[in-house]
Symmetry: C2
């Protein structure tokens, strides 16, 4: 029995999913049933995207050799990203223990990306901006400059739906982007046409560790009202 | 009474929220209680972000003059975006009626952005990539080129949480990016420091029209297995 949203288990509340969908870097190799993957992918497609053009493509990599190739590239480039992180140091908002746990999780993932039963590589079909002649040159320039920064608005919301749907279905995942440093190699492995750009690499599997509360700064530290400098707080009305 | 996720009403299921959070371009001017906004913003902060650095800043614009200034900029630049959309034409997957409704919604929003009781402008603090000397030049170049495309991975998932939390709390919103063509003007209005880049402009308010099913292509049309060219389907296992 499935409900009108295609779900056999619709019991998890929205806020519980959002508050407990911790990044999951330890995953079991156990396979994921196709019907469960279908639920995750369908949830992804319910996200917003520019002009509802749905220029997205979700590459679902299950083949062991393909996963091995992608995992090898991911591990290689991640060692450079690790150097960058170590150069930046620990963020102020993390304790040494939290930072160490995150870094260990990252390094575990570098080695074991290939072992997740599914690697999801979400793409967008990026075609050159075709602008009508009526648009003045300075506006056209501004559009072209803004484009790379905002293109992800048509794919990353879908990936949050992937994370939340996975959580509700008992699957773990994590949104990574290191592989984009080797974009051309990844595209070659997947046989992607030139117009497809990859935006993430998400291992998906049943979690080896527990879900748990996501730790974040207080809203008053990251939200401001009306003009820069005035913190948001529920009593600021 | 609130539950452990800070919610007074945790009754909406995750999938119901994802499947009915239609882009809402008709909003009532009625004010939103601060405590409700707090719930939306806190949900935003539960999203993933690179290295859990939480370099995000959520500008909550309620002041009528500030909303008017932003709305005027949005309307002006949106007329250029409208020309671009008209130049592109209707996407294959939309019927003429659906396309017309979306375009009418867009034009309504161009004029009425300023009337929403809250304009949310989510930002990231973007600092120049500081790379250690050990990273080879070609890797550094690849990192710098990939960066704008993937920066949004640290803010757009949070905006999907905003959309879903709004839905569960009876609020409507829509993720827009047109204003980024006039990024400098928007930053000046909000008094944002140079390192803050805006990634969206989201009007939030109680909806004037109904929530309803989000219409999207079938998964088999937008997902492929292992290599480009093989459609995903639940029977493809």
């Amino acid at each position: 029995m499935t409900d009108e949203y295609g779900q056999s288990d619709n019991s998890m509340g929205l806020f519980e999913a959002m508050y407990t969908a911790r990044a999951m870097r330890w995953l079991k190799p156990d396979p994921i049933p196709d019907k469960v993957l279908q639920q995750v992918l369908e949830a992804a497609t319910r996200a917003p995207n520019a002009g509802n053009r749905q220029n997205w493509l979700f590459m679902v990599v299950r083949d062991a050799e393909q996963r091995h190739r992608i995992g090898e590239i991911y591990q290689r480039v991640s060692l450079w990203v690790l150097q960058r992180y170590q150069h930046q140091g620990r963020p102020q908002n993390q304790s040494a223990a939290e930072y160490d746990r995150m870094m260990q999780g990252g390094m575990h993932l570098y080695e074991h990306m290939r072992d997740a039963p599914v690697l999801l590589v979400p793409c967008l079909r990026i075609t050159p901006l075709e602008l009508p002649a009526e648009i003045p040159p300075q506006v056209a320039t501004a559009m072209r400059e803004a484009y790379p920064w905002t293109a992800g608005a048509s794919i990353y919301p879908a990936l949050q739906n992937v994370i939340l749907a996975c959580r509700a279905l008992g699957l773990g995942t994590v949104l990574t982007t290191n592989h984009t440093i080797a974009e051309d190699e990844i595209k070659q492995v997947l046989g992607l046409p030139p117009e497809c750009r990859t935006f993430a690499l998400m291992p998906i599997g049943y979690p080896e560790r527990n879900f748990g509360p996501v730790k974040r700064r207080a809203v008053s530290e990251v939200a401001m009202v009306d003009r820069y400098g005035t913190p948001f707080s529920p009593s600021s009305e």
